[in-house]
């Protein structure tokens, strides 16, 4: 009898301790920055950008900026390549781009700077480089359901931890030769979910990957818009308006592209035309039913 009571007390103590060990996890915050890679000694040490000369069509590289000090990324290299592949696929129809190359992160050395980019340019024959940075924060807190952890099966079955993953991705497009920033865009996402104490690490990895996926979708849309604005701005002769480096764009035939140069067109019907066609179809259908009745 005494042994049974002692066993019960010890079990209860163990359960309470286990429940105490499980609780809110500290938030994680992982950042990498393209500017850290490009200007390892700070922006004030940077040389001013030269005049930009772009000869279309361009060869463009895409890469995630490397982390300083080899910090661990929240996603694997394979996941990074897939995300960059999606960005590349979104721009492959652009006539100004002849080739899009996803550059593995190992080609970029931490704090490598423009010298590193120049090496890549010579090796892969690239004109422009798109460098992607990210900022991801993950928060995990216990919810009211966490009282069930006091039971034996609670931690196994109940997902009483609430996870929030906030991701921001930023893409900067540089002309490697002139070291000029041409344009930039950002994408962001928030992913919420639940986990149990036993699978919280795995779930956080899953949410981290989801966060990057959603942020990439947002980034692609914003990059499209930024590219269109840059195209218009560049035709007027400067990268981003007065006070920024001058830019000259030339077609494949060597002709200067200006604000009055040609553009591509599409005969594309939109939702209004579809609605009009649907309205006519509905009126015909109603008319036929009335005639039969």
């Amino acid at each position: 009898m005494r042994n049974c009571i002692a066993l019960l007390v010890v079990s209860l103590l163990v359960l309470v301790l286990t429940a105490g060990c499980v609780g809110s996890m500290p938030p994680t915050h992982r950042v990498n920055s393209a500017l850290d890679f490009l200007y390892p000694h700070g922006l004030t040490a940077a040389a001013p950008a030269k005049e930009v000369v772009l000869k279309l069509p361009l060869r463009v590289g895409l890469a995630f900026a490397p982390n300083r000090d080899y910090q661990r990324d929240p996603i694997t290299e394979e996941q990074k390549q897939k995300l960059l592949g999606r960005v590349a696929a979104a721009f492959k129809e652009n006539k100004a781009i002849s080739h899009l190359e996803v550059v593995p992160t190992i080609y970029l050395q931490p704090a490598g700077g423009f010298a590193n980019l120049d090496q890549i340019r010579r090796s892969l024959g690239l004109d422009l480089m798109v460098l992607v940075s990210y900022d991801q924060a993950q928060f995990t807190e216990s919810t009211r359901a966490s009282w069930t952890y006091l039971t034996v099966v609670g931690p196994l079955l109940i997902e009483g931890e609430k996870n929030d993953t906030r991701t921001v991705m930023d893409a900067v497009v540089y002309d490697i030769d002139s070291q000029a920033l041409l344009f930039r865009a950002a994408g962001e996402s928030t992913v919420s979910g639940h986990s149990s104490p036993l699978n919280v690490d795995r779930k956080r990895r899953v949410f981290a990957a989801e966060g990057f996926e959603e942020a990439t979708k947002n980034l692609i849309g914003n990059l499209n818009a930024a590219l269109a604005r840059f195209d218009e701005q560049a035709r007027s002769g400067t990268v981003q308006g007065p006070g920024t480096p001058a830019i000259a764009m030339y077609s494949a035939k060597g002709e200067r592209i200006t604000a009055t140069s040609g553009h591509s067109g599409g005969g594309a019907l939109g939702i209004p035309e579809l609605i009009l066609a649907a309205l006519i179809s509905i009126s015909l259908l109603l008319r036929r039913r009335a005639a039969r009745a």
Binding site: N94, K95, N224, A228, G265, G266, I280, S283, R287, A290
Partner: protein
């Protein structure tokens, strides 16, 4: 009420086969390219209307084109459909090559679809039911008004997403749409082919 005779839409089937074949080759070999047309590749004036910039654009344009073509052809308007397609294609080529000198490349079948849309609406106008007739008139008026506004104002309304640097050409919709008005000439001479039982 005697049902009108339905015909197999052979012309639409041929059109669908052409669109499918066009989707199997790289779009750059068929798209309208001003410099290549000037160099002698004049077929691009027509083949450029069978290729598209994005899958969404292809789905909307060809969906509308083939849907309208089937409906019209099944009701016995095959010759009218052929004539309208020829007019619509020709007017699209005119709008792109001669009337838009700053256009260097073009893709899209919305010109053909616009011509058939107007034709379909015109055929429905011949219906005896005033509600349906008014619907059709309003649809044509709205369609041409939208295209006219876009052309004059230089901005599109509710256009779908296109790749960077590609813009909708409203003049194509406006000009090719008028090709569908060829159906007006047939209204006074032939029945519409629609069930003409009056609603009592």
């Amino acid at each position: 009420m005697k049902p009108f005779p339905r015909r197999f839409p052979a012309l639409t089937a041929a059109l669908a086969a052409s669109c499918t074949a066009a989707s199997l080759v790289p779009a750059e070999t068929l798209e309208y390219d001003r410099s290549r047309v000037a160099a002698g590749e004049v077929w691009r004036l027509i083949t450029g209307q069978l290729v598209h910039w994005t899958p969404r654009m292809a789905a909307l344009d060809t969906g509308m084109l083939l849907g309208l073509a089937i409906w019209l052809e099944v009701r016995g308007d095959r010759r009218l459909v052929a004539l309208t397609l020829a007019l619509g294609g020709g007017l699209t080529a005119l709008a792109v090559h001669a009337l838009s000198p700053d256009l260097i490349a073009y893709r899209g079948s919305s010109g053909l679809a616009s011509a058939l849309f107007v034709l379909a609406a015109v055929r429905i106008v011949s219906a005896t039911d005033p509600v349906t007739r008014n619907f059709a008139i309003a649809a044509v008026a709205l369609f041409l008004a939208k295209a006219g506004f876009e052309f004059l104002a230089g901005q599109t309304l509710f256009a779908g997403p296109l790749p960077p640097g590609v813009h909708v050409v409203p003049l194509v919709h406006l000009l090719a749409g008028t090709g569908g008005l060829v159906g007006v000439g047939r209204l006074t001479r032939e029945p519409s082919g629609l069930p003409s039982c009056p609603i009592s």
